[in-house]
Structures are given as structure tokens and as C-alpha cells.
């Protein structure tokens, strides 16, 4: 399924003041494509993601997923949040099968799917633990497994590794890359980190400061398995950094 965004605008109204977060954004994400949204704080990238996810309604413009307009959240668009948002009263096992339970899948099928995805993220041994007993990295892996187990066509990720330390972050980036090579989902990924974007994405979309618009799009022509220290990688990094820095400078004016 693809994502089609045309003329999208969103204004927030708080205490009588209007804050435009997004202004006239056009974006296409093709099926199986991994696209990163990149930009300084307040550029509206999370707002854009939330609208595609169906959590917020646009002020203007249209959003279509697989040709059908978005009217609210749904199982066709899985979401991975920055704060993990696991259900604390359920075990790892309970969390991962949450979506399947809603669909009414039989117990045997649920067990098989949970086992498969826990294996995929390397947490098979922790199925009976509660989220409060897990580290940040582990929690995020559960969140990813939970989203994947529901088999959505599209995965939306809002700075999923933002709350983790640098080492865990890189480990999870490697994991995500590996998973994507297996699953081939359509992914829209929001991040602050240029390095992360170049590592994971097929295309990197750089956004302007508020009100957010698309500043520039970079096609990342790198092999599937990427080397963070390859000269081509660094080249992309510096190119994009230059563009992003222009926008960051505007925030700090």
C-alpha cells in the first residue's frame, strides 16, 4: 500500500492563538519504500505522521492510504512511538498479540505469530515479563514486534529510537534494517538524526521549520546493507547536514 499526501495543512488552536504546524505538504510514499522525515524541532514531522496515522485530522488537504482516504487510525497502519507505549498491565506476550486478539484470531495462530516475531526481535526468552521489567531497548523491540505481528501494510515510526542511548540506538537500527529486508513494509520514519536517516532510508525528506513544508528530497542510492563509514554514506550525510543546518539556524534566530 502506498501513502498519498496532497496539499496537507494543519493548524493548532490553543488559547485563542493559531499555530500553523504544516503548510501545503505534498508527499508520496511508494509501496515497500522506506522514507524518512527529517527536520529541526517544530518542523511538523510528527504532526504529519500523526495525521497519516489518523490521530489528528488535517485542517486542509487530503491523505490517502492504498487509494482510500484516511478517516482515523486502523490496523492497516501500525505505529511505533518514541515512548514505547506498551500496555503495562500485559506481558510481552500479551502486548505482541494484542492486535491479533482484537481480530479474533484463534489461540494457536496467535501463539505462532507471537513466537515468530519475538524470535525476530530477539526477545523470545522474555515473553512472560512485564514492560516494567524491561530496558528501554527491549521495550522498543517489543513495540516493533507488536506492530509487525498485526501485519499492517504500512508502519509509521515516530522517532522510535530517540529515547535510547547511542549504542542501543545503533543496535536497533541494525535490527530494523535486518527486519525490513525480510518484511519489506512501507515505512514512514520520523527522526532527528541525519545519520539514522541515511542508514535506513530509501528516500530522505527534509522539512522546513514551522510552518512545515518540504524543503528537499534526497534519493539514497546505497546498497541494502549499509556501511556507516563508507565515503558515499558520509557524502550523503554532509549533503543533508548542510541543508538541515540552514533550517536549524532559522530556529535559533
Amino acid at each position: 500500500m502506498n501513502i498519498h499526501v496532497r496539499g496537507l495543512s494543519r493548524t493548532f488552536i490553543a488559547q485563542g492563538r493559531e499555530t500553523p504546524a504544516l503548510l501545503d505538504v505534498d508527499l508520496e510514499v511508494a509501496e515497500h519504500e522506506f522514507v524518512c522525515l527529517l527536520g529541526p524541532s517544530g518542523c511538523g514531522k510528527s504532526t504529519l505522521l500523526n495525521i497519516v496515522a489518523g490521530f489528528l485530522r488535517p485542517s486542509a488537504g487530503e491523505v490517502r492510504v492504498g487509494g482510500r482516504p484516511v478517516t482515523g487510525p486502523g490496523a492497516d497502519r501500525g505505529v511505533v512511538f518514541q515512548e514505547y507505549v506498551l500496555f503495562p498491565w500485559l506481558t510481552v506476550d500479551g502486548n505482541v498479540q494484542f492486535g491479533l486478539k482484537l481480530k479474533g484470531a484463534p489461540a494457536a495462530e496467535r501463539r505462532a505469530v507471537v513466537a515468530r516475531y519475538l524470535e525476530l526481535v530477539g526477545l523470545a526468552a522474555h515473553a512472560e515479563k512485564y514492560p516494567v521489567q524491561l530496558s528501554g531497548g527491549m521495550k522498543q523491540r517489543v513495540a516493533i514486534a507488536r506492530a509487525l505481528a498485526n501485519n499492517p501494510e504500512i508502519i509509521l515510526m515516530d522517532e522510535p529510537f530517540g529515547a535510547l542511548d547511542a549504542q542501543t540506538r545503533e543496535v536497533l537500527q541494525d535490527e530494523l534494517g535486518r527486519i525490513q529486508r525480510v518484511e519489506h513494509k512501507t515505512v514512514l520514519f520520523v527522526t532527528h538524526s541525519i545519520r539514522e536517516a541515511v542508514y535506513l532510508a530509501d528516500r530522505v525528506v527534509v522539512m522546513t521549520t514551522a510552518p512545515g513544508r518540504i524543503k528537499q528530497v534526497f534519493q539514497i542510492k546505497l546498497p541494502e546493507v549499509r556501511d556507516r563509514f563508507a565515503p558515499e554514506f558520509t557524502h550523503y550525510e554532509s549533503e543533508i547536514t548542510r541543508v538541515v543546518k540552514e533550517e536549524v539556524a532559522k530556529v535559533h534566530e
Binding site: 489528528l56 485530522r57 478517516t71 482515523g72 487510525p73
Partner: protein
């Protein structure tokens, strides 16, 4: 659908969109108006049809009338003053004791080890259970009522004060010491201001509790006071008088609470500078 719809929940959670203040205000006023209207209708119907003695469900104007009558006879102020005086004295004594002991206990382990077990022992016992004891000891006069308020309000205020001191970040003290503060300075310039939010919360609890317990102590063995007015009304089914006095009590409690809040806002201005 009247319940929050899913899209609303997605955007704002269960609170729903915060209504513009003017619309929220009109909903509130409407609610109060409907409440008063229903009450008036009920009271009016009872008076007209008399399914039971209308005194049992007085309409709002009957209640106000009863209060005005008492005011006219000059009696209302006597009762209000009596209640307020007892609350004021009892609460102040309780607050003073609680603050003094609390501040001491919060800083000195020794004091804490002595006072805390007594407090922990007495805390689960509903203070009201001790009221008869006060009456037996001090007699049925003012002393027992005021003393009882002091006793009842002491515990929550003591506990919050100790907590207020205990939760002070030790690093604040170290920072002050490394700037040359001596114990006297530490107390007045760091500990007191840092503990103040909790202390004031405790005071608000104490005020509410004072009004809570004064009622019952004015039921048993009092000749004046709003509580007395309420209980006395029982003899002749003067429900309007009882309701009126109860409402007045509520008003006084609300005012007392408001006073502490005003104090809070002034003294704790650093928490919300504008």
C-alpha cells in the same frame, strides 16, 4: 454519540477538546441553574400537593427565608461567630504545634523517632472516636471543642510538614552550605521556603478538617454554633434551618480554603511567575 468519539479521543484523550472558556462557563451556569430549578420545582410541588410534610424538602426560598429570619433576630451572627471562633483558635493551635514539631522532626532524627511512633499509632484511629474522651477530660465547654479541633488537625498537618522537609533535595542544602550558609541561614533561607508548598497544602487540609469536625463537636453539648443550629433543628423538624446552616458551613469552609489558596499564591509566587 454523546460519549467521546474515537477521533476525539485520538486527538485529545478522554478529556475531549477543551471548550473555549466562555462556553464552558455557560455550561456550568446552566448546570447550576437547572439544579436550582429542579430543587425549586420539587420544593414547590411538595408545598402544593403535600405528599409529606413540606418541611422535609424545603424549597430554596424557604431555606433562605429561614436564614434571613435568624439573621433578623440577630441570632445568626452569634452562631456563625461561635463556630468561627472555635475553628480559628483550634486550627491555629493545631497548625502551630504541627509546624513546630513537624519542622523539628523533619530535621532532627531524634525528635522524629520520638514523635513519629505516637503519630503512627494514633493516626489510624478516627479522631472522632476521641471526642468523647476530650469531653470527659475537659468537660463539655469550649475547651474540649477547641482542643479536639487541635487534636484532629494536628496529625495531617504534622505529617505534611515532615514530608515537606524530608523531600527537600539534599543538593539544595549542599549548594547553600558551599556558599557559606550556617545552620540558621539554612533553616530560614532554604528549608523553610523549600518546605512551604507542602506545609501550605497541609494547612489547607487542616482548614477543611477543622470544619469537618467542628460540626459533630457542636452537636454534642453546645449552646451555640452552626452545628448546634443544625442539631437543634431536629427537635422541631426545622429542616430549612438545618439546610441553611449546612450551606453556610459550606460557604465558610470554602472561604477558609480560598484564603489559604490566596496565601499560597502570594507566598509561592515563584512557582508560577507570569
Amino acid at each position: 454519540m454523546w460519549l467521546s468519539s474515537v477521533p476525539e479521543m485520538m486527538e485529545w484523550g478522554l478529556r475531549g477538546a477543551s471548550l473555549p472558556p466562555r462556553r464552558a462557563l455557560s455550561w456550568r451556569l446552566a448546570s447550576l441553574a437547572i439544579f436550582l430549578a429542579l430543587w425549586s420545582v420539587a420544593g414547590g410541588l411538595v408545598e402544593a400537593r403535600r405528599p409529606f410534610n413540606p418541611l422535609f424538602l424545603p424549597a430554596p426560598w424557604v431555606v433562605i427565608g429561614a436564614l434571613l429570619e435568624l439573621a433578623r433576630k440577630g441570632q445568626l451572627w452569634v452562631h456563625v461567630a461561635a463556630t468561627l471562633e472555635r475553628v480559628a483558635v483550634g486550627f491555629s493551635a493545631g497548625a502551630l504545634l504541627a509546624l513546630a514539631l513537624g519542622l523539628l522532626a523533619g530535621q532532627m532524627r531524634a525528635v522524629r523517632n520520638v514523635v513519629e511512633p505516637v503519630v503512627e499509632l494514633l493516626r489510624p484511629i478516627p479522631p472522632l472516636a476521641m471526642l468523647p474522651l476530650f469531653i470527659v477530660w475537659v468537660g463539655i465547654g469550649e475547651g474540649s471543642k477547641v482542643g479536639f479541633i487541635t487534636y484532629a488537625t494536628f496529625f495531617p498537618m504534622f505529617v505534611t510538614t515532615v514530608h515537606g522537609v524530608a523531600q527537600i533535595d539534599a543538593r539544595l542544602l549542599r549548594a547553600a552550605q558551599s556558599l557559606g550558609a550556617r545552620p540558621r541561614h539554612l533553616f530560614f533561607r532554604v528549608i523553610l521556603p523549600a518546605a512551604l508548598p507542602d506545609v501550605l497544602t497541609g494547612l489547607r487540609l487542616g482548614v477543611a478538617l477543622s470544619f469537618f469536625v467542628i460540626v459533630i463537636s457542636e452537636f454534642v453539648g453546645a449552646e451555640n454554633g452552626l452545628g448546634y443550629l443544625i442539631n437543634d433543628g431536629r427537635n422541631f423538624f426545622l429542616v430549612p434551618q438545618m439546610l441553611g446552616a449546612a450551606l453556610l458551613l459550606g460557604l465558610l469552609g470554602y472561604a477558609g480554603n480560598g484564603l489559604v489558596r490566596v496565601l499560597e499564591r502570594r507566598v509561592l509566587r515563584w512557582q508560577h511567575p507570569r
